[in-house]
């Protein structure tokens, strides 16, 4: 199996001088292709910071974050944006759908960014929405007219639009009732299994955590425990193959 994400002794601090606060401390973590990793821990333990670092939304104070074999600290803003567009998908706790766009538009705008427009974009959007179980009657509605579960499905379709290798989910069930939450978790698992897509999910819900192949527990910015099936390649070699991110400039 190939390596998708690698964090090497990553520390993330905020503030300066006496007001400095450490969110992550010397964290090392690897995620293989097709692996579903649940990051768990109490509020403020650094889960979301870890996810932001993997997405290149923030840079570590020390250590390295490699995604698709590339060190994010060495990438320009444009390259990071391209990485997020083509290699990553992101699902947020509060969905973060664009409230003024319709369901269809919320999915298709990312297709537009990779040059898929017109009829092709419409067909692919329809397939994505059908794939995540959003009924066609909802496609022309605005997010505020949908239930939380439906909104999160739309967010999932949006994340999948560019066929990413890695899906990052930040508390995807945090704003949902248990039934909707389960449906979203099933959806994530299905994407992981059917598309062999790596998933890194941050959650503080123990039940949600069980969906991962592996559970990483964080406390006070440190990994305190890892449980579940470890990817063989991670155990086997530090030189594990990577699923490369093909930069647009390549």
């Amino acid at each position: 199996m190939s390596l998708v994400v690698e964090l090497e002794n990553v520390t993330k601090e905020y503030g300066s001088g006496v007001a400095v606060s450490r969110s992550l401390a010397d964290v090392s973590l690897r995620v293989e292709e097709g692996e579903f990793v649940s990051i768990m821990g109490p509020s403020g333990c650094g889960k979301s910071t870890l996810l932001n670092l993997v997405a290149g939304l923030e840079l570590p104070s020390s250590g390295r974050v490699l995604v698709g074999g590339d060190d994010l600290a060495r990438m320009s803003d444009r390259e990071l944006s391209d990485l997020r567009l083509r290699y990553l998908g992101f699902i947020f706790q509060s969905f973060n759908l664009l409230p003024r766009l319709t369901v269809e538009q919320n999915v298709s705008w990312r297709l537009g960014l990779i040059g898929v427009t017109g009829r092709l974009a419409r067909d692919r959007t329809a397939a994505l929405l059908e794939g995540v179980g959003v009924p066609p009657t909802a496609w022309t509605r605005h997010p505020s007219e949908l239930s939380g579960g439906e909104q999160q499905r739309v967010a999932a379709a949006r994340a999948l639009a560019t066929e990413p290798k890695l899906l990052l989910a930040d508390e995807p069930t945090g704003n949902l009732d248990s039934q909707s939450g389960r449906m979203i978790l099933d959806l994530l698992r299905s994407m992981n299994e059917k598309r062999n897509m790596s998933v890194v999910m941050v959650t503080h819900d123990t039940y949600a955590g069980t969906y991962g192949h592996r559970t990483v527990r964080l406390k006070d910015g440190r990994i305190v425990r890892q449980a579940g099936e470890m990817a063989p390649s991670v155990e086997r070699s530090e030189e594990g193959q990577v699923v490369p991110f093909r930069r647009r400039s390549d």
Binding site: S81, F90, L98, P99, H142
Partner: protein
């Protein structure tokens, strides 16, 4: 007081954010204060000049036809029962030579007449005077106001060159008048001479302009006035000074209304910009307001507290705006004086504007009200949000479907505006024009949403997908975009409206004026009447003969421009050749003129009247028109009607100069038009005429094109305040659009964060915000063209007849409209540069945490 202290503690940390609100309200207040102060100051100056000229008089005797009276009438006036003091006064204009040529009002007073001394001297103390006997014995003696003497750097005993109707002369300064009121009247540009000397200097021996009368203490002024009317000749008018002031106030009302309307528009812009800013500030405090409401504070109390904050903001703005307005007024007074001079055909002094309490109070109150008005809607909207929703979602706003009432308004208002627009010809003007203008502006604002949606596609096609997303997104809940577009629409529509009216005025006036003023050359005084140069002083009629005798001159046609008060009319008296030869003008008469009308006028048998005069006095072609002249009553046959720009609003009579000379006893001319003979170069003839007129007459010899340009320039000068306002408006558009877009970025911080997290680059975010600005710019400016032009038409039809006295034909200048729209769009995009950069530089991680 406690509430205000609480409000202050709330706004103190947000002062930085409120800076734009404070600045725009301050600018609006400054502009309003400047307009009101300049206006009040000029009106006061107008009134003071009347008071100074009238002294302590209660009645004034003048020639009904305008022009001079016989000085000897003063003796007849004194014989009327109840008359205490009566003195003759002669008024005229002279032009001081020097580095800067200045026109001055010349007042001739009989210094040997005790009545005159009692009437006028009480208000005009002569501080420094050489020997009074020398003053009286030497015809070159003059008294200057202290202000004029110091302006020209003159002291008693100094001499200076002066241009008078009789030609060039030299005056000697024999004394200084030290009186504030006199110095202020005519901006201090006042010269006093002995009556006899003034009569010779002005070329009107034995004449007076007015006889001022003071009634005996125990007599009724009105009764004495009636007795005077009965005992004086028919061509003489007797007026109560109080009536004259009231008449003046009435004639200024319409003009002031227009000026005030412009001030109100400036404040409206300030309201729009401030409403946007306050809406942002309140948006940021939504969560805090939600908590307060959850803790038991009612909506009403919250709105009241927010209004208290707006009140404090307004006080700050007024505190800055009023002193600024006072400074602006010093700059604005000159162009407003020019405009008033043009409107009232009087030289109105440009003086230092004093800080009068009433205009400042009105501007200050308008500023406070504007801030409260701007705060009301955002405050109500902020507290209307459900507490649960606010606490759950923070600042985020989801689009809400329109309520049925909103939909009806959205549909109904444009239809209503269109209906009022179409029904204009059948409805009363004036107030309706204001209603129509308001409806047009409101309908324009409502049309912004569909237009924003309409431009999304083309912008996306032109600038890429991120631009399209931005514009699409914005068009769904366009509250911010609407705010910016409304500022832009108002900001661009106002210049289009004002410049459109000015241009129409200019084109119409110049076309109409020049149609009947043609030839190869024009000869006229080098001096200009009034601050605008709206007219030229009279010159001696002798110059016509001198020009006619110049080699190369084929024909000379002189004209006199004058005014008559009985009936009230302008007079255009022309040499017959001006009517007989087509090279001098196109005399297209209205249908129904008498056969050979122009020839009959040229021969002195009949007159032409303009459409205004025909309407004012209900004149019929072929019928008589009775006028009172210095030579007595005369009945003139109306041979035809012509459409032109009248000299005064009530209209003009056009007659032969021979008839005018005979009836009005005036030998002067205003200008002479020259046709150059075949085979002669215009340039050469121009030089020859200038040589022949020599140094004796300070005249310009110019081409007719120069005259046309001079008319254009005079109109532009008269409307020069429009340019100041246009510039200020565009600055407000820049600030207002930038602010609204900055608010938009702030409000959508989280969305921008998620877009960045989902792969949008900084460049794409930047393009997105700039595309939004471009869409707003195009939508706002596009509508501004329609709204501005429609407002200009409504204004022209509704207000210009009241202001000018004649109907102005509106000529839409699409070039100006598109230029205004382009500048507005550019301002909007420039204003978006900072918000776009801020949006691009947002840290996605921070933005995603933003609530």
């Amino acid at each position: 007081m406690n509430r205000l202290l609480l409000a202050w503690s709330q706004i103190r940390p947000q002062l930085g954010q409120l800076l734009i609100a404070v600045a725009t309200i301050a600018l609006g207040v400054a502009l309003a204060a400047a307009i009101l102060l300049a206006n009040a100051s000029l009106v006061r100056s107008f009134e003071e000049s009347i008071d100074v000229l009238a002294g302590r008089a209660e009645l004034q005797v003048t020639a009904l036809a305008g022009g001079p009276l016989e000085e000897g009438l003063v003796e007849r006036v004194r014989t009327v029962a109840g008359v205490g003091e009566a003195a003759a006064l002669l008024l005229g204009t002279a032009y001081l030579e020097g580095r800067e040529q200045v026109s001055v009002r010349v007042i001739g007073v009989d210094m040997l007449d005790e009545s005159a001394v009692r009437l006028y001297q009480a208000g005009a103390q002569v501080a420094a005077m050489e020997d009074p006997l020398i003053f009286l014995n030497r015809p070159d003696s003059v008294l200057f106001t202290r202000a004029l003497a110091s302006q020209r750097g003159l002291e008693v005993g100094d001499t200076l060159g002066v241009e008078l109707p009789i030609g060039r002369e030299v005056w000697t300064l024999r004394g200084i008048i030290d009186d504030d009121a006199v110095s202020r009247a005519f901006g201090g540009r006042l010269v006093v001479m002995d009556l006899f000397s003034a009569q010779s200097a002005l070329g009107v021996p034995g004449a007076a302009t007015q006889i001022d009368v003071k009634v005996l203490p125990d007599h009724d002024v009105t009764e004495v006035g009636s007795r005077l009317r009965e005992s004086l000749p028919e061509h003489v008018a007797v007026e109560l000074l109080a009536d004259r002031r009231a008449q003046l106030a009435g004639s200024l009302t319409a003009f002031q209304l227009v000026i005030d309307l412009i001030g109100a528009m400036a404040l409206l812009l300030a309201v729009l910009v401030t409403a946007n800013r306050l809406s942002t500030v309140y948006q940021e405090r939504l969560w805090e307001m939600g908590v307060m409401r959850a803790l038991g504070i009612s909506r009403f109390k919250l709105v009241r507290d927010l209004l208290a904050e707006a009140f404090l903001v307004s006080l700050l703005a007024v505190g800055i705006g009023l002193p600024l307005g006072f400074l602006f007024a010093q700059i604005l007074v000159a162009p407003v004086a020019d405009t008033m001079s043009l409107n009232f055909k009087e030289a109105i002094a440009t003086t230092w504007v004093a800080p009068r309490p009433l205009p400042l109070l009105v501007a200050g109150l308008a500023g406070v009200l504007s801030a409260l008005l701007a705060a009301l809607s955002p405050a109500v909207q902020a507290v209307r949000r459900s507490v649960v929703s606010v606490l759950a979602k923070g600042r985020r706003r989801d689009p809400q479907p329109d309520s049925p009432a909103k939909r009806y308004v959205r549909l109904g208002l444009p239809i209503l505006a269109l209906a009022v627009w179409l029904l204009r010809p059948f409805l009363p003007q004036g107030a309706l024009a204001a209603v129509a203008m308001f409806l047009i502006a409101a309908a324009g604002a409502l049309l912004l949403t569909p237009i924003l949606r309409g431009v999304a596609g083309p912008i996306g096609w032109l600038f890429g997908i991120s631009a399209q997303i931005g514009v699409e997104d914005q068009s769904r809940t366009p509250s911010r975009a609407l705010g910016a577009a409304a500022v832009l629409m108002a900001g661009v529509a106002i210049p289009i409206w004002m410049v459109g009216v000015t241009e129409s005025f200019q084109e119409y006036v110049v076309d109409a004026v020049m149609k009947i003023r043609r030839g190869d050359l024009v000869v006229e005084s080098q001096f200009e009447l009034g601050a605008t140069g709206a007219g030229r002083p009279s010159v001696s009629g002798e110059v016509v003969d001198i020009i006619a005798r110049t080699p190369g001159v084929d024909a000379v046609g002189a004209a006199v421009i004058a005014k008559s008060m009985s009936p009230k009319m302008g007079i255009l008296a022309l040499d017959p050749v001006r009517l007989r030869r087509a090279e001098f003008g196109d005399w297209a008469l209205e249908p129904g003129a008498l056969p050979g009308a122009l020839e009959r006028v040229a021969a002195g048998e009949a007159i032409l009247v303009d459409t205004n005069l025909q309407a004012t006095y209900d004149l019929e072609v072929g019928g008589p028109f009775r006028v009172l002249t210095p030579s007595g009553a005369a009945e003139l046959l109306v041979a035809g009607v012509i459409r032109t720009v009248p000299i005064i609003p009530s209209g003009d009579v056009i007659l032969s100069r021979e008839v005018y000379r005979r009836l009005w006893r005036d030998e002067t001319i205003t200008r002479a038009f020259v046709l150059v003979g075949a085979g002669h170069a215009i340039h050469d003839v121009r030089g020859r005429i200038a040589d022949r007129l020599g140094d004796r007459y300070r005249l310009d010899v110019k081409s007719v094109d120069d005259l046309s340009e001079w008319f254009s320039a005079a109109v532009w000068a008269a409307f020069s305040f429009v340019r100041v306002l246009v510039l200020l408006t565009l600055v407000v558009v820049l600030v207002g659009c930038g602010d609204a877009l900055a608010a938009n970025v702030l409000e959508r911080t989280r969305e921008l964060g998620s877009m960045r997290a989902l792969g949008m680059s900084r460049r794409q975010i930047r393009v997105m915000v700039l595309a939004q600005a471009l869409a707003i710019g195009l939508a706002g400016s596009g509508l501004a063209i329609l709204v501005g032009l429609a407002m200009a038409v409504a204004f022209t039809e509704g207000f210009t007849p009241a202001v000018l006295g004649w109907e102005l034909e509106f000529r839409p200048s699409l070039g100006i409209a598109f230029l205004g729209a382009a500048l507005g769009t550019l301002s909007c995009v420039l204003g978006a540069l900072v918000p776009a950069e801020r949006a691009a530089r947002l840290s996605p991680a921070v933005a995603l945490r933003y609530e």
